[in-house]
């Protein structure tokens, strides 16, 4: 608990005044207990207030428990309430004393006044003492049947409190059935809502052990029940509406008519002033239209205005929550907000957390038509006095440049930043220029001219310094002074605290030497000597490696340290599409704010009533048959990926995927077959950071791209039913229920992609392999297909989601199967079918 307030600034009762007071209170309370004198209640109120205020600030007042109970015999409802509050707080830790309260609580449960009945019942259920559950059953049963709706609302929640104390008592008393009855019949909407929440909690906890409970939980999603809730929607309070809408979002409508009916019914919820209701409604709209691509797009159009209103009408905290959701949506459909980019311009008085999200939005909505305006606006922020904001803005400009829009103008702008001569701006910009050069080597001339003018003395931040040094090494030919700058940096080796910078310095000097040996020889000698003597293991090892390489053969050294480079075409995406889909499934939850699926930040028991598919998903990873070794490894690698924080991952993936393009030679080695194989081993042992193999290695093997690795399992003879059919809604339902058993990324023959201008090309091709298309959609370059296939001899089905990027020829595959033991075999079959697409 927080420390007691020190100051005596206000004479309020919640200021503590010492430990001795508690015993004083005890005496005073005892004197009052039996008193019937007029004015007693007022005195009691003051004393009770003191007790509660001590409780609030964390002083232990459990010692006055029996006195409080004795004083509770009163008709004053304010006193009663204070007493209930006190008892609720301490009963759990004083179960013996709690027994004292049972009597008066039970009596109050039979009071004439429904308010007292409700209050007493709530307190009785909140005692939290397992030994006393027997006393709860009677009053709870009566409460559920009480004529007054307030008492019933309290009782409905009381049942789940009892369940947590003793699940068996609750189930044996048949309370879940009673709740269900009330939920369907009660006139009071709040009673209905409380029954629903209690049942959801009880059944999802019971579901692990009881099939019946699992069925009951499922039945909440049945059509009659969902319609029952929908029809009563307007009766519910705004908060109960959120609960019902969350339930409805899990419902899978049978046909398009149903979908439209639901949307028409809920349309006006989008204009609710409560943002939680609006977001819950949007979730329903997005989820029920998933199978109807064009309607889904219309939904995006429809929800745009309400979302933007929520961003600007609420407190900054609420804007933050809504903006996080906008960001998720914009990642899925970048075009929807591309003409509304001005809404994401930052206002000078907004908190940083809102500004940061807005910058992310601006980078996400940037496209050919608006990049100029957006970058112009961002440049204004760069000059801002607010340093974190300036940094974020520079990064945003860089991100947009890497998205390939209007690079020309952006490079100019970035170079202007360098001329501003503000240290933080220069540092941040250098890092970006380095990344840009990796992607657009053609700009090296312009950039180098400006970068060459920067004095390395003005660059202190390790990341920026490393970037500058990398450029000095990489473009040693074009930068007149490169060897001399490097030399002066080597001279100050001992003052350089960052190992990262020293590593880069070694490599840069090496590169420079290989191009301009006479000028660099001295610096190289000094650098290697300093490096070998370095206390940092990695620096030491790298220096030694270089030294031995040079001794062995300068040409080999050249090939390893300075191989010809290819421009990086795509920087590794920070998140797999699998993860993004999971986050989308959890729309309107914390997952969206944290940009992580819930299993990464919640314990199992707190995952909510409908999170079952994830649990199954995790289970299936564990029980993967051992012969599918390759895929199991891959899953593991992915999981490791997931565990890395985003920034870490960005880096390690950036390195891994662009191995040959950039950075320290050790990374280069890791993707170079043949000659460097020996060094690869050496380096990878020394460099723990390269141990994670790129996740798609295993996939490359599967495609037979000639990587030496353990061969995958031979595809078993899996025969498919050529006439497999499933209607889209059944597909959707199945898709939700089944866990992903195979998820892969692969590449597709560009000739196949070329034929995709005809949308039927791929479905027809796959049909030739007994794999039928259920739904398809998307716009260039992203296409999405859902396929289904069935085993020839039984009704076991395979569901496939296949996302094809026609510009990169990358395919993301997700397979779900009734029979998971054969999913790998099916995956092989599917891939072999796909690999012939366009070649025949």
């Amino acid at each position: 608990m927080a420390p007691p307030a020190q100051s005596q600034r206000s004479p309020s009762p919640s200021q503590p005044s010492g430990k001795g007071e508690v015993s004083d209170l005890k005496t005073q309370l005892r004197q009052l207990a039996g008193s019937r004198a007029p004015g007693t209640d007022d005195t009691k109120r003051e004393l009770f207030k003191k007790v509660i205020s001590y409780m609030t600030i964390g002083i232990d007042v459990s010692s006055v428990f029996s006195e409080m109970v004795m004083c509770s015999a009163t008709s004053d409802i304010v006193l009663k309430k204070m007493c209930y509050l006190y008892v609720g707080n301490y009963a759990k830790h004083n179960p013996d004393l709690a027994l004292l309260t049972i009597n008066f609580l039970q009596r109050d449960c039979k009071d004439e006044d429904p308010m007292i009945r409700g209050l007493a019942l709530r307190s009785l259920c909140s005692l939290g003492v397992a030994n006393l559950v027997e006393y709860l059953v009677g009053p709870l049963g009566n409460g559920l049947k009480d004529g007054n709706s307030y008492v019933r609302t309290v009782a409905a929640v009381g049942v789940v409190k009892l369940y947590h104390l003793s699940a068996s008592t609750c189930v044996d008393a048949d309370f879940p059935a009673l709740l269900k009855h009330l939920m369907l019949k009660d006139k009071d909407a709040q009673v209905v809502a409380n029954c629903l929440t209690s049942l959801q909690e009880i059944w999802s906890l019971e579901a692990s052990t009881s099939e019946e409970a699992a069925r009951e939980r499922e039945s909440l999603l049945s059509k009659p029940l969902v319609y029952y809730f929908l029809n009563r929607m307007k009766e519910f309070s705004e908060w109960a509406q959120c609960i019902v809408l969350e339930l409805v979002s899990k419902y899978v409508p049978m046909d398009s008519e149903e979908i439209f009916d639901m949307m028409n019914l809920l349309e006006d919820r989008l204009q609710h002033a409560n943002g939680a209701v609006v977001l819950a409604t949007i979730k329903v709209f997005l989820h029920i239209t998933l199978s109807m691509t064009d309607v889904h797009q219309q939904v995006y159009e429809r929800i745009k205005a309400p979302l933007l209103t929520l961003v600007s009408s609420g407190s900054p905290e609420q804007s933050y929550a809504v903006l996080s959701h906008l960001h998720l949506l914009v990642m899925r459909a970048p075009y929807i907000f591309s003409s509304d980019y001005k809404h994401f311009y930052c206002q000078y008085n907004e908190p940083f957390y809102v500004k940061k999200l807005k910058l992310e939005m601006l980078t996400a909505v940037a496209n050919e038509s608006n990049t100029y305006e957006i970058v112009t606006e961002l440049c204004e922020y760069v000059a801002n006095v607010d340093i974190p904001m300036a940094r974020e803005s520079i990064r945003a400009v860089g991100k947009i440049a890497l998205q390939q829009y209007d690079v020309n103008a952006i490079v100019d702008r970035l170079l202007q930043f360098l001329e501003m001569e503000k240290e933080h701006v220069t540092a941040e910009t250098l890092v970006l220029v380095k990344d840009l050069l990796r992607k657009y080597p053609q700009w090296s001339h312009d950039c180098i001219a400006v970068v060459g003018n920067i004095s390395s003395k003005n660059v202190q931040e390790p990341k920026a310094k490393a970037a500058l040094i990398w450029m000095l090494g990489e473009y040693a030919q074009d930068m007149q002074d490169s060897p001399y700058i490097l030399e002066s940096l080597v001279e100050n080796w001992d003052e350089e605290d960052s190992a990262e910078v020293r590593l880069h310095l070694l490599t840069a000097v090496m590169k420079c030497f290989l191009r301009r040996s006479p000028e660099t020889q001295k610096a190289l000698g000094a650098a290697l000597a300093a490096g070998v003597a370095d206390f940092h293991q990695d620096v030491h090892d790298r220096a030694l490696l270089y030294y031995r390489l040079l001794q062995y053969d300068v040409f080999v050294a050249e090939r390893i340290v300075n191989p010809p480079k290819q421009a990086v075409s795509v920087f590794a995406d920070t998140q797999s599409s699998e993860m993004k889909d999971r986050i989308f499934d959890e729309f309107n939850s914390l997952s969206v704010v944290y940009q992580k699926p819930s299993y990464m930040f919640t314990d199992k028991e707190h995952r909510g009533p409908f999170a079952f598919s994830e649990e199954l998903g995790n289970l299936s990873i564990g029980t993967e048959p051992s012969d599918a070794e390759v895929s199991a490894q891959r899953v593991e690698a992915n999981d490791k990926d997931l565990l890395l924080s985003t920034s870490e991952k960005e880096e390690s993936q950036g390195y891994a995927n662009n191995g040959s393009a950039y950075s320290a030679p050790s990374y280069n080695a890791s993707t170079m077959p043949g000659a460097s194989q020996g060094h690869f081993d050496l380096v990878s042992l020394d460099q723990p950071s390269t141990v994670h193999p790129p996740a798609n290695f295993a996939i490359d093997d599967l495609l037979g791209l000639g990587m030496p690795a353990t061969p995958g399992p031979a595809p078993s003879a899996l025969l498919l039913n050529a006439k497999a059919a499933i209607d889209p809604s059944a597909f959707q339902q199945k898709w939700r229920q089944l866990p992903v058993s195979v998820s892969q990324e692969l590449t597709i023959d560009p000739r196949g992609v070329a034929t995709m201008t005809n949308p039927q090309a791929l479905p027809q091709h796959m049909q030739g392999h007994s794999i039928n298309c259920v739904a398809s959609g998307g716009q260039a370059p992203n296409f999405k297909f859902f396929f289904v296939a069935q085993k020839a001899e039984e009704v076991s089905a395979y569901l496939v989601e296949c996302i094809i990027n026609s510009s990169s020829c990358k395919v993301q595959l997700k397979i779900k199967a009734d029979d998971q033991t054969t999913s790998q075999a099916f995956s092989d079959l599917f891939q072999s079918a796909l690999s012939t697409f366009g070649s025949g």
Partner: protein
Amino acid sequence: MISQFFVLSQRGDNIVFRDYRGDVQKGSAEIFFRKVKFWKEDGKEEAPPVFNLDGVNYFHVKVVGLLFVATTRTNLSPSLALELLQRIARVIKDYLGVLNEESLRKNFVLVYELLDEVIDFGYVQTTSTEVLKSYVFNEPIVVDAARLPTLGPAALFMQGNKRMPGTAVTKSVVANEPGGRKREEIFVDIIEKISVTFSSSGYVLTSEIDGTIQMKSYLTGNPEIRLALNDDLYIGRGSVPHYGYSGSSGAGAVILDDCNFHESVHMDNFDVDRTMSLVPPDGEFPVMNYRITQEFKPPFTVNTLIEEAGSLKAEVILKIRAEFPSSITANTILVEMPLPTYTTRVNFDLERGIVGQNADFKESQKKLEWSIKKIVGGSEHTLRAKLNFSQELHGNITKEAGPVSLTFTIPMYNPSRLQVKYLQIAKKTKTANPYRWVRYVTQANSYVARI
């Protein structure tokens, strides 16, 4: 579901602390406060309103300097939690009249009473002041509102120490007037927050109005109310009939980009005659929130000139012009402008004969502040400042200073021209007409002129 709710003072003391589920450790308030206070080592970045620490999710909103916090272990909707926290603050304000640390401390038992009914076992039950009235028995201990700077919409209607008719805005919904009788009255406030960004050449780059029609009713017997807005009001930019454009210049239609409504509002006749009907619940609530990006005339234009004047000197001329009718007066205008970081001293040259204006150089933030108590519509004010630098200028001085930002309040003025044409109260008794207050106010949200 919510595990705990608590309110912390600025110093981190618990003012109220309520545990609903018992699945989050008791020390969470302290853990939370420490995390928020030291979010980033430099203390410059504010903690986001939602974060996760060791499996516990913390939500918080800041209201009048107090931290309203909820915790949960479940994957709750952040909008729901944050909206709830705001609502709890509003309900408490409805009951106490004034929401601040003192009133909370004095009334913490009442607050506990409210919290008991608002949330049960982590599930939200109700946040309606109206509904809660029947469950709450403590009488609020009213703190002296006049002594305290009020915050929120009420503050907008203050003119210096003289308050506009809105004393009632700090009145509890349950406490009785000293005379024992309640005054029948209803307040409808049209509050517009405007954001404008001017380019360095004075053009409007972006502009937006975020408006709210806020209602606070002290009527007994819950009569129905009809609220009529402009005839030429349209919702959605696509909904405007095209012929409407050509005829009137300047006085065109009021086009809302989008809006949303309080639960109690009925829109049955809205399409026909732009009226809304509702039975206002007790307490303060927004009848309607709206958003306008249609162009409007900015109430102030700003002209900034910054010029080098010798090697270690520069001159700044700031000119602001009030572009609204002279019958209207803006209050508490504050003009701020960041100056080059190497500025050491600033000499101001204020216009003579104007009371209540003041200019200052905030050395620690390297910022110029110019405050003016009142500006009458149509008038223009100028500030000249001479800057002294500790080092030679390098590059363009306009890149080292600015932008200029303004904050102000303009009562009885709203740039959108949205109007409440009439406010009708369905009469139930023959007693005197209730007081009806319809007030307009405009406030700067982000009003920035680049240089």
